[in-house]
């Protein structure tokens, strides 16, 4: 059909092509202003529309950025408030634990000091110093003994008496000194107790000082967050990303733990709920095993929530302490029951596996081998079945971190996607504009022959018109340029919008 139209003018392909070319060039030349206008206006319309879209996306991007910042700062403030609260609690504990006992401590100190003082006074009650017996004895000794024997005897008696008195006095003195030493020795534990008490007080005061410094630092950070400083926003973003990756890693590990747990109880579950029933395309026993694991995780979440470790459920947090304690006990009890069930299921799995193995061996025609040390894997499975639920119960902690940090990460991803979209839209708009210009040039290139003829004709006409004027005055630069402006086609000089500019 198309070939028939092509050969409508002549049988010769070359001639037909030439005729068609002439016709098309003529038609295109005739419709040039309209075609130019169409191409340029389309290009500009696409460009303008996409610019508006890009501006809208930018606004959205700014809103998302502001929202991310708000979320981040709010989360940071909340975390910091919690941290400061915890520090204050610690200070309170220190004050309650140590300083509340201060009156007793003070009494103890006073008593110790009193005892020491008493002992001191007791030690100062000196025994009478030995009188100057030695001098008396020396004097008596130096008296001449060559006189009256009665005098000599009296003197001898006096000497003996004095010597005896001296010895007695010396003994009394030594006894008194020993007693004072004993009193001073008894003071030693009191001094030590005093030193210990003082050290204790010093430790308490030092601990309080450290806590006060930590609180000061945290208050500074909190203040920066309240002022929404960029530094704190950047720090929070980085911390949030770190939290996200760490919690994701822990959750993946927990997921693997869950899978192991599932395989541990899925087979024996078929013994309880039947191995032939299905829900959809999944075995009911598998679903039951999954439900048990999910319930264990839920109980773990409730336990952590009731203990105040996580804050995922505001309802639980708003309960009073007694209620929360009861809830924690209930959750822990259920968890223990489920762990016991799992342990028994894990043991049953071992028995079933053993039975199945024996059957397979019998079907294969092999003699059923007596398994050695079968109790080790049995015990291992039993222990694993009991421990894994408790391990999974702690999944609430990384889950909370993950949820909190995911808000930031999702915000960042949304921001990044919006940025990419904006750049793409801008690029497409610019390309559409340039493409329309290229198409205009391509159009002119196709019809360059009639355009050249037109230019030549116009030039000849202009030169013919300018000749009489040349005789009077030479052409100025502006007068030369003026016709050139008129010569330009309409579409190329269509005014650009401010946006395009």
């Amino acid at each position: 059909m198309l070939a028939d139209i092509f050969y409508i003018w002549s049988e010769s392909p070359a001639l037909s092509l030439a005729i068609w070319l002439v016709i098309s060039i003529t038609l295109l030349y005739a419709g040039r202003p309209h075609a130019h206008q169409l191409l340029r206006s389309t290009g500009r319309a696409i460009h303008g529309t996409l610019r508006v879209a890009s501006a809208s996306i930018r606004q959205l991007e700014e809103r998302v950025q502001a929202r991310n910042r708000d979320v981040l700062l709010a989360a940071g403030r909340e975390a910091m408030e919690k941290s400061i609260e915890r520090e204050f609690n610690r200070v309170n504990n220190i004050v309650e634990r140590d300083l509340s006992q201060y009156p007793a401590l003070h009494r103890k100190l006073a008593e110790t000091l009193e005892k020491i003082e008493e002992d001191y006074h007791a030690s100062t009650d000196n025994a009478p110093l030995p009188p100057a017996w030695s001098e008396v004895m020396t004097t008596i000794g130096s008296l001449p003994s060559t006189g009256d024997p009665a005098v000599a005897s009296i003197l001898e008696n006096i000497k003996e008496v004095v010597e005896n008195s001296h010895e007695e006095t010396l003994k009394a003195y030594q006894k008194g000194t020993n007693e004072r030493h004993k009193i001073l020795g008894g003071m030693r534990p009191h001094w030590r107790a005093l030193g210990g008490t003082m050290n204790k007080v010093q430790e308490t005061i030092t601990g309080l000082e450290e806590r006060a410094r930590t609180i000061d630092r945290q208050m500074g950070e909190y203040e920066a967050m309240r002022k929404a400083e960029d530094k704190s926003v950047n720090s929070l973003t980085s911390s949030s990303l770190t939290q996200f990756f760490i919690s994701s890693l822990v959750l993946v590990i927990a997921a693997f733990g869950g899978i192991i747990n599932f395989h541990l109880i899925a087979m024996p579950m078929s013994e309880m709920v039947g191995g032939a029933s299905y829900m959809g395309s999944v075995r009911t026993s598998d679903i039951a095993a999954l439900v048990i694991i999910m319930v264990e995780i839920s109980m773990g979440l409730f336990l952590l929530e009731a203990l105040g470790i996580t804050r995922l459920f505001p309802v639980i947090h708003s309960l009073d302490d007694r209620m929360r304690k009861r809830m924690a006990i209930a959750a822990f009890t259920i968890l223990v029951i489920f762990a016991s069930i799992e342990a028994s299921l894990a043991y049953m799995r071992d028995l079933l596996a053993l039975d199945r193995e024996a059957l397979q061996q019998s079907l294969a025609g092999a003699a059923v081998a007596e398994a050695q040390l079968r109790w080790i894997p049995s015990l291992g499975q039993l222990a694993l079945g009991f421990i894994l639920p408790f391990a999974l119960a702690f999944v609430g902690i990384p889950l909370e971190s993950f949820i909190h940090s995911a808000r930031t990460v999702l915000g960042l991803i949304a921001l990044w996607m919006l940025r990419v979209l904006r750049v793409t839209v801008r690029m497409v708009g610019g390309m559409a504009n340039h493409l329309s210009k290229m198409l205009v040039s391509l159009y002119d290139l196709f019809i360059m022959v009639p355009l050249s003829i037109e230019r030549m004709v116009r030039y000849h006409r202009e030169t013919a018109a300018e000749k009489p004027a040349d005789a009077s005055e030479p052409p100025t630069r502006s007068s030369r340029r003026a016709p050139k402006k008129a010569e330009e086609p309409i579409a190329d000089n269509l005014p650009l919008t401010t946006g395009e500019a």
Binding site: G274, S281, L352, D355, L359, S362, L363
Partner: protein
Amino acid sequence: MMSRNLQSVCRASVVRMRLVLAAVLTLLLVGCGEPTNHSRAAFVLIDISSEYAGERQKAQLLTNYLLAELNSGDSLAVGFIDNSSFSERNIIARATFDHRPSVASQQKRVFQAEVQDFMDRFRVPSYHSDVTGGVLLATDYLREVDAGKKHLFIMSDLHEDLPPGINRNIRVELDDIEVVAVNVKRQRSDNNDPEQYQQRLADWQQKVSSRGGSWQVVNDMARLESAVALR
């Protein structure tokens, strides 16, 4: 102002109601779908005619393989092909395994013992072989257990040799049954004219396919696992 607030609250509650209704309807539609039948059933037909009786050991291997593969809720039966196979006495053992794996294991042991007992007691091969009668017996059993997947394993040379007075010109319906001819032994006459063997297989294939079943030939027992998708 109050009436406007009331209107907005009413509108919001209507939207919520619609969402809940849509969710409930979706759940109902999903829940009302026909439940898929995941159970499997297999019937093993063993030819005990004089030409094929020597292959009994392989039949036992096949039975053991099926016992290992089938689980709770699945069904298995073993029958034999002799002069007239369409009777209850031709069934050696049959069982639908309990939903508890431990009980199913016990059933499998009993099943294996029954087959073993038959093999031990077997002395005299049959003179004729009524393959179609056996297939009829098997299809009846498979239809009765109503499993999701039905397999019929025929261990025979597929040479039908009916005794006089037995009519097997009836249509055997094999809808959704996967027929697997295992270890189709070549007869002495097939050695002289291999076309006979090919023709026999082609006839059976045509017969099975035309009646809604699918046909497979597995001569190598080791290839059985890969050829037959029991799982």
